[in-house]
Amino acid sequence: MMWIFNSVFGKIFDFIFFLFRNMNPWIGMILISVLTALLMLFVFRFTSNQEGIKRVKNKIKAHLLELRLFKDSMSLSFKAQGNILRYNLRYISYSTKPMLVMIIPLILILIQLNFWFGYEALTPGQETILKVKLEEGHNPLDIDVALEPSSGFDIQTPPLRIEEGREINWRLQAREKGVHDLTFIVNGQRLTKKVAVAQRPLSKISPLKVKRNFINELINPGESPFPADSPIKAIEVKYQAKNMNLFGWNIPWLLGIPPWLIVYFALSIILGFVLKGIFKVEI
């Protein structure tokens, strides 16, 4: 079920970015920020008490004026400040509902956007690590995992089995451009995982493929899940984080927040304020 939802939802993003995938990723970023701003305005427009917000904002403005006019009178100033606080709280309560409505779609959007803006595809010749993570109770030394060769990449090392982490690692070197399938044969079962090499400037990259499980799939919707009875918990290809380069300057990580997310939030909020007048939305 979850997978059907994920693939439909994912397709929407494929569609949105389709025309922009050969352009600078900033164009895709601006586009999605505009769409997000519009969505937020739309949600505000129809889920919040627009009249109420307008009234509250006017009240706040009025009391601010009062504060300025009667700054010599202690008692009036205090009263005005009290009123500003009161209406602020009411304003927050008015915007709670649209926020609540927004939060789940926003999380789903962020998960999708991370595939598009979070990782850099491998370049031909680049080396990375491929990790197979096993379920509890399985020992990497006992399990029979074979990797099928492909023209897209080389497997450069024999399997490195790490018992304590229940992991099997390989070093993989990208060779040809394109999205390739890594094919594993695990205890006779065939499993695949996608590997992206030198994609377009804007492309979807899914580092982790997980097992069938609601939460897992919700968080890692990039690829169809493994069957629930597989001894494999997840397969990961390590990609480097994507840089957002602004006129030669790489936007840095801030408190663990990746550059693309900083840009996305900032752009969406700015655009929301720019566009609210056009659509006559009170926020």
């Binding site: 690590i129 450069q156 024999p158 399997p159 490195l160 089995r161 790490i162 982490g165 690692n169 070093r171």
Partner: protein
């Protein structure tokens, strides 16, 4: 997280070295000089290339481009410096003077007040004023890294005349002399610990655990549950009160059966098979929560089983975020890093110490030096392609390093000669000459009729079969007295010397000093006639000393500084510069003041070729695409030659004459 920039790093005096008389070379990333010059000069500096070997292989038709160039122009031996050590020789070339004019007399100088050895090329001072906050020490005033070479370099003079120059890794130019020209430092550039290079080696094999080896640290490790945990030590943390060494922890996971391992530290993880080298890895040493120092190194997984063995190269300064000044403008090293990725920045990048200590074997050493060579050739293509005006100087170190380490395979008389290994590695030196022929081919393709091409080396090579301990000779000849005679040979740094009864001592590779009253802390010889007579006496005796085993003369020439140097710094020179004979060199122990029991001993090390001899024993090479008028050109003649080509008047400090 903030990375410490180089100014802050120096302030803290975290590494040996210091600067910044450089003004602010870092502020502009654009290199100087766009002027088109009608004449151009392209110089290949091939460290240690020997005229006899070159001649031999040219005759055999193995070096077609050298042959062609010699036919087209000229090929002569090039007189080298006194002493013929690379920092001295290249300084002669850079300034057009001899050591009296540039004040670099040896790899190692000494502080006469402490009888203590010091780096000749650069000097670092830490922050003088600091404030202590709890356990932290914060710097208030700046430290310095200073290039000790005096005199003006030719690229500075070219700059005065608006002639652009790129000077790639010329030795004895760390930190780079103040200029807007594009320059990057080479030999003399420290690793991130401020040393000539310290590798790290992790092993489970007990018999490999040697203490106190020069140039490396050997760490015992255990493989527990297929995992190794260890530390990589970084620079001293001058932020902390007791100046602890900074360190990062790393883990290695090995497969229980397959010869493969994963190394993981910080946000880095990578897999190596046994016998594989990693690419460059970046390391951040955290000093205080907001500050870290960047370095780069490569890993080599020597063995997984039966013993686990991992080599980590000396940690080089990251050229993309240099914590010490390695280029002018600062952006030059960053530009190269952007294009080529991280690259070797440490002075002599080949790890000869790891080979000498059996941490790397011959093949592994060559693999490592191949990394250096390949990188150097790639960057040459880049610089050559954009060379369109002025001067380009390009330097190669592998020629020198491979002759040092592989001479034992072309010299059957060498104590370390091994016929089986000679079969395998006997061609190593010939091969590097052939590589240089290919490099020359590219240069010759680029050269047009207005370009003067000069191919040169700073010195040649000779076998190093027998080692001569100058300090032991001084002691045996009655010029040097010990406190406790039976302790002879056990202590470095003259810890056992009775200075009040010592007349002479030697620090460095060719330098002999008189223990002079008023100059040395416990001087015993009066300056003036007493010293003069003593100097002549010692020089005479040295030249007449005979090797008891072979009957040969270890010392061919003992030069008296006053006779051979001119310029303002003659007073700082050693009193005698010892020029060893073919096959001889100073011993391993003597340069740092250890007085071994024997005067002359066999050299059984892998370091088997050398050039710290008398200059006439090991001239360098000079090939040009013009006829040379000079009969016996010297290194310092090339500097005025360059100036003359560009029509610049030759400064009177220069001692050389143009060769064309």
């Amino acid at each position: 997280m903030n990375h410490i920039d180089r100014r802050e790093f120096i302030k803290l005096g975290l590494a040996a070295g210091s600067l910044l008389t450089l003004g602010s070379p870092g502020l502009t990333t654009k290199a100087f000089g766009k002027r088109e010059t009608p004449q151009k000069v392209l110089i290949l500096g091939l460290d240690g290339m020997d005229p006899r070997l070159l001649q031999l292989w040219m005759k055999e038709g193995k070096l077609p481009y050298f042959q062609r160039l010699a036919r087209q122009g000229d090929f002569l031996p090039l007189r080298t410096s006194i002493p013929p050590q690379s920092p001295v020789a290249w300084s002669n070339f850079a300034t057009g003077t001899n050591p009296g004019g540039h004040a670099i007399f040896d790899f190692i100088h000494r502080d006469p007040e402490r009888y203590f050895p010091v780096f000749s090329a650069s000097e670092t001072t830490g922050a003088k004023k600091t404030v202590r906050v709890g356990k932290l020490i914060l710097p208030l005033s700046g430290g310095e890294v200073k290039n000790m070479r005096k005199g003006r370099a030719f690229w500075q003079i070219l700059e005065d005349h608006d002639i652009p120059a790129t000077v790639f890794k010329i030795p004895a130019n760390y930190p780079p002399s103040s200029t807007k020209q594009r320059t990057i430092s080479g030999m003399g550039t420290p690793d991130i610990l401020g040393s000539y290079g310290i590798f790290n080696y992790y092993t489970t094999e007990a018999k490999e655990l040697k203490e106190d080896i020069g140039g490396g640290r050997i760490h015992p490790v255990n493989v527990i549950a297929n995992r190794v945990e260890a530390k990589l030590l970084g620079p001293v943390n001058a932020f902390k009160k007791d100046r602890p060494e900074s360190a990062i922890e790393f883990k290695v996971f090995v497969d229980p059966v397959n010869p493969v391992a994963k190394i993981s530290f910080q946000d880095n993880e990578f897999i190596l098979k046994e016998g594989e080298w990693s690419s460059w890895k970046r390391i951040h040493f955290r000093m205080i929560p907001t500050q870290s120092v960047n370095g780069i190194c490569v890993f080599y997984l020597k063995q997984v089983r039966p013993n686990f063995k991992l080599y980590i190269s000396p940690i080089n300064i990251d050229p993309g975020r240099a914590v010490l000044p390695i280029s002018t403008p600062k952006g030059y090293s960053e530009e190269l890093e952007k294009r080529f990725g991280p690259f070797f920045t440490k002075g002599l990048p080949a790890d000869t110490k790891a080979l000498d200590n059996d941490v790397l074997d011959d093949g592994e050493f060559l693999e490592q030096d191949d990394l250096v060579l390949r990188e150097r050739l790639e960057m040459f293509d880049y610089e050559l392609a954009r060379f369109s005006s002025g001067l380009l100087f390009y330097y190669v170190s592998s020629t020198d390093q491979r002759q040092h380490m592989f001479w034992r395979f072309i010299d059957k008389e060498h104590p370390s000669y091994d016929p089986a290994l000679a079969k395998k590695y006997g061609n190593t030196i010939e091969n590097i000459y052939k590589e240089m022929d290919k490099l020359l081919a590219k240069a010759m393709e680029k050269v047009d009729k207005d370009t003067v091409l000069i191919v040169m080396s700073d010195h040649g090579f000779s076998p190093f079969r027998r080692s001569f301990n100058l300090n032991t000779w001084l002691k045996e000849s009655g010029y040097h007295t010990l406190i406790t005679p039976w302790k002879q040979g056990r202590e470095d740094l003259f810890m056992n010397t009775n200075w009040s009864r010592t007349k002479a001592y030697s620090f460095g590779l060719n330098s002999l000093y008189i223990n002079q009253k008023g100059r040395e802390a416990e001087g015993a010889v009066n300056p003036g006639p007493e010293k003069e007579a003593l100097v002549r006496e010692i020089a005479y005796k040295l030249e007449n000393f005979r090797d008891p085993k072979t009957g040969g003369r270890p010392v061919l020439r003992a030069f008296v500084a006053k006779d051979v140097y001119q310029g303002p710094y003659v007073e700082e020179a050693p009193d005698i510069i010892v020029g060893y004979n073919h096959g001889y060199r100073t011993s391993w122990a003597a340069p740092l003041g250890r007085i071994s029991k024997e005067i002359v001993e066999d050299n059984t090390e892998k370091w088997s070729g050398d050039h710290c001899m008398a200059p006439e024993v090991i001239p360098g090479i000079l090939l040009t695409n013009r006829k040379i008028k000079a009969k016996s050109p010297a290194l310092y003649d090339l500097t005025p030659t360059i100036l003359k080509i560009f029509g610049i008047e030759i400064p009177k400090e220069m001692v050389g004459k143009p060769i064309f």
